[in-house]
Symmetry: C2
Subunit: 391 residues, 2 copies
């Protein structure tokens, strides 16, 4: 396989937008292409992510319309991916696989989502279609419900009183809002404290409002290219060191949701391919859709033993300046979560960190970063390890 | 690139089904795997197609649930594709690209759709989300409308009186229903005559009811493998000779819809990769969503000059026994059209033809076959050329 580089990255400001999915994606896509010193005509394919354009805008089959909006050539096929929240990461992984294989030299990949116009209650119901329809979403399961169960199970399994776990979960939210306060693209740029979380509306016990990420509108895109192109076209390429993707079935088949088996498999694929391990990672963008989700992820990566990551934010180990910096962008929690765009925004953050372009939230000396995106109730996990130098 | 083979193919009976999308896909997937002398545990990935499971069943993120239904290993990632009617073909093309590249050795690919429960009027409106939402479907455009415009434009451009064109279009329907009468998996297995078409309800002038394919429920799946595996596991492998995929933008950017530029690009990619041309093709499964669509496709492939394919069925050149047999399965017109499964059913038909397993509708001596699937209003075209011998 050839070495693969990311030449350009871009994201829209996340939050509430007046723009359509296609307009947002065009904004991010054209900026990522321009940053790569390339033109739309140079793109050989489009790997495009969107989850629910049909419900959001009455738009299925969005990929060729994104292709047209960007002015890509007719010979560059546009392909849509959907993997719930992991949508854009799966699209980028496939772009990188095909570039690595020599099928294409330069590909645009990313995603877009427009969820805010629905309003949070309707969006929560709509996105609950990511659960198994026949057995799980129909009886009323929603994503806050799944992660609330995970928090209860974690408390019970490891003997951590729920009240203590909740305090530590609140510290995850405080950290990510602190990081987000330094990100001009973040949906929320205000710091909060533990009381903001503990005084919040109850969503699904023990998860309160500030334990939950928002729905956001936004798009993000990256230019994926054969590493040889990097020297020609981009001053600061970042390289893909390893990737993983794994699947596991509906919730009713998962006996212990404190252990995300699909993530353990996916990240081990990425470690194996890159020859790297948890000790090598300087910075992580992980899927903190709920505060408990960040804790579970840290354990799956091998940064902490199982049952031991719950107080990582409290001890400031995952803050800027900590032993491994987690979600310097603000994460889904503060940067926001436009479902089909999230993975591409995570890659954007890691690439900017490895290029040392992250301003006040720069992770000093960051050379290796990990992207982690979870789709559905652990049904899809996709990981990408990036590095600032060729291996 | 390594040579890629299809080891097993299967489809459900197309028509109206009581089964869910997942149940139908499990039926086709397990049969395709069994036909390959493999087991679900041998699959290294799932490339899965579905268009509107969210509207049909409240089910997004269907790929990992299909993965669970089939009992695939956690290390085998499940990835969903959506390219309107070309969904499954795009999924199979990507499976073949990744097997060819050496990323995987054995992959399951295919698709499923359940459109009948909506009823035709609602399904027509729902699938119209495949048009550009902002500019085209909102004002009332539907797919019968697009192909009706194509028929008018064809009549006008080539000076063929509409009445004469309609008679020849009716002959396309008669042919495909005749072929479908020999296919026990077809949605419609009854022969019709020209009067059946001309006496039918008007749908979108000049298209009458029998100019239009039905919505169907169904699933189809294929096992895609590195050709070396073929000798181990399958008695009658069929090989992928070439593939193409191309995109073009919304209808308002397409000046002449009698010329499907995305298809001309896609099929030329497939010809180039295979070293084959129109004269080499023995049998074709093409996208006859409407009778006029079959005529347009025959011209894009180079089987006929532009403006000359309109009477191919009338002259019986595209019948079983004709110079190039078109849609021996009955096509979308009679075999049926479960949107997200259609491409995999087309591959299934061509593979069975090349293995000489098609019974009364066998194309004698068929060695090379072409699959053609169109998504949306020409937004996606995907082609696959198959051959019965290694190149």
């Amino acid at each position: 396989m050839r070495q693969v580089a990311i030449l350009g990255v871009a994201m829209t400001k996340f939050g509430v937008s007046e723009k359509t999915n296609l307009e947002m994606f065009a904004e991010a896509g054209l900026e990522a292409i321009a940053q790569s010193d390339l033109e739309p005509k140079d793109m050989e394919a489009l790997y495009f992510g969107n989850c629910l354009g049909d419900f959001e805008e009455g738009q299925m089959h969005m990929a060729p319309f994104a292709h047209a909006e960007l002015g890509l050539p007719i010979s560059a096929p546009a392909t849509r991916f959907e993997a719930a929240c992991a949508t854009a990461t799966v699209a980028i992984r496939h772009a990188a696989l095909l570039v690595g294989a020599g099928i294409y030299d330069v590909v645009l990949a990313g995603g877009t989502e427009r969820a805010c116009a629905m309003g949070t209650p309707l969006a929560t119901k709509t996105f609950a279609m990511g659960h198994h329809a026949q057995y799980e979403s129909r009886p009323g399961l929603t994503f806050p419900g799944v992660f609330a169960m995970a928090a209860h199970m974690y408390s019970d399994k490891y003997g951590i009183p729920l009240k203590e776990l909740k305090l530590n979960m609140a510290e995850v939210a405080v950290k990510n809002h602190y990081h987000g306060s330094m990100n001009p693209k973040a949906h929320f740029q205000k710091e909060i404290d533990v009381n903001t979380v503990l005084d919040g509306m109850m969503v699904a016990d023990p998860l309160q409002l500030f334990d939950c990420c928002p729905f956001s509108d936004g798009a993000a895109a990256v230019v994926v290219a054969e590493a040889g192109k990097a020297k020609d076209f981009s001053k600061k390429p970042v390289y893909i060191a390893g990737m993983g993707q794994a699947s596991c079935g509906p919730l009713y088949l998962q006996k212990d949701i404190t252990r995300v088996r699909s993530r353990e498999e996916s990240v081990s694929q990425a470690y194996r391919e890159s020859g790297l391990g948890p000790d090598d990672i300087d910075v992580v963008e992980l899927h903190d859709c709920f505060t408990i989700a960040e804790i579970l992820a840290l354990e799956s990566f091998g940064f902490y033993e199982f049952g031991k990551a719950y107080d990582a934010a409290t001890k400031r180990e995952t803050y800027l300046g900590g032993k491994v910096v987690v979600n310097p962008s603000g994460g889904l929690k503060a940067k926001g979560h436009p479902i089909g765009a999230t993975g591409a925004a995570q890659v954007t953050e890691i690439v900017e960190q490895l290029r040392e372009e992250s301003g006040p939230r720069q992770v000093e000396g960051a050379r290796i970063g990990l992207v982690d995106t979870l789709g559905g109730d652990f049904g899809t996990i996709c990981n990408i390890i990036l590095r600032s130098e060729t291996s």
